[in-house]
């Protein structure tokens, strides 16, 4: 069975994949930065980020 896709569809798939890989790369860079942190720094970093994120999401969820 053969399927045909248009050049536009191919282009859209590539764009999405590149964007996904960019996002993954950013995430992996953040993961790599963890290695230089002590356990206490990791805990504190998580605490601060969670607090900021929770405040933002709390507001957005009510919009």
């Amino acid at each position: 069975m053969s399927q045909t896709i248009t050049p536009e569809e191919v282009s859209a798939i590539i764009d999405i994949s590149i964007e996904a890989i960019d996002r993954l790369n950013r995430l992996l860079a953040k993961f790599a930065a963890q290695r230089g942190m002590t356990t206490d720094e990791l805990i504190e970093d998580t605490r601060g980020r969670n607090q900021s994120l929770a405040e933002k999401l709390e507001a957005e969820s009510k919009e």
Binding site: I16, L24, F31, T39, I43
Partner: protein
């Protein structure tokens, strides 16, 4: 699952495991897993905002995702605070690994994180059209990588004290 997604699963799992391979104590692994989950939730949050800005999701969908995401953040925060408490205890008692009681408590809290995350994936992300959720799928795969690491600490370690 597409070939790209399969590749990403493998890449994320391998890198997650490599990323913690040099960490020699369970407490650090637990703290690192909580941190990875938070970093990934930030990415999901950014992607959610990006989808709204591009007009690919409605404000209602955006608010729904925010509400579900918030549950994961809160559950992960409780887990992180418990890790912090056990870290203080471990420092005071010179422990290098969790006691069985600590592991039991962390498992209980971690199950709440995974349940909230499952809700995010099932009710927040999967209902979105496949062509707009690929970046969210990637982030979900990354969280699953962190789950693999913490499961190793909380479950496998318990079988081999």
């Amino acid at each position: 699952m597409s070939a790209v997604n399969k590749t990403l699963v493998v890449v994320v799992l391998i890198l997650s495991l490599l990323g913690t391979a040099c960490q020699d104590d369970q407490i650090r692994k637990a703290a690192a897993a909580a941190n990875k989950i938070t970093l990934t939730l930030e990415e999901i949050d950014g992607e959610k905002d990006s989808l709204l800005a591009k007009g690919k999701i409605t404000k209602a969908q955006h608010a729904k995702l925010a509400g579900i995401l918030l549950k994961v953040v809160k559950a992960n925060n409780v887990f992180n605070e418990q890790v912090a408490e056990f870290k203080r205890q471990a420092d005071a008692e010179k422990l290098t690994s969790f006691t069985p009681q600590m592991r039991d408590r962390l498992r209980e809290l971690f199950n709440q994180v995974t349940a909230a995350f499952k809700e995010l994936a099932d009710d927040g992300v999967i209902p979105l059209p496949a062509n707009i959720r690929q970046n969210l799928d990637v982030a979900i795969l990354a969280v699953n990588g962190a789950f693999t690491v913490i499961n190793g600490v909380l479950y496998v370690a318990n079988n081999h004290p």
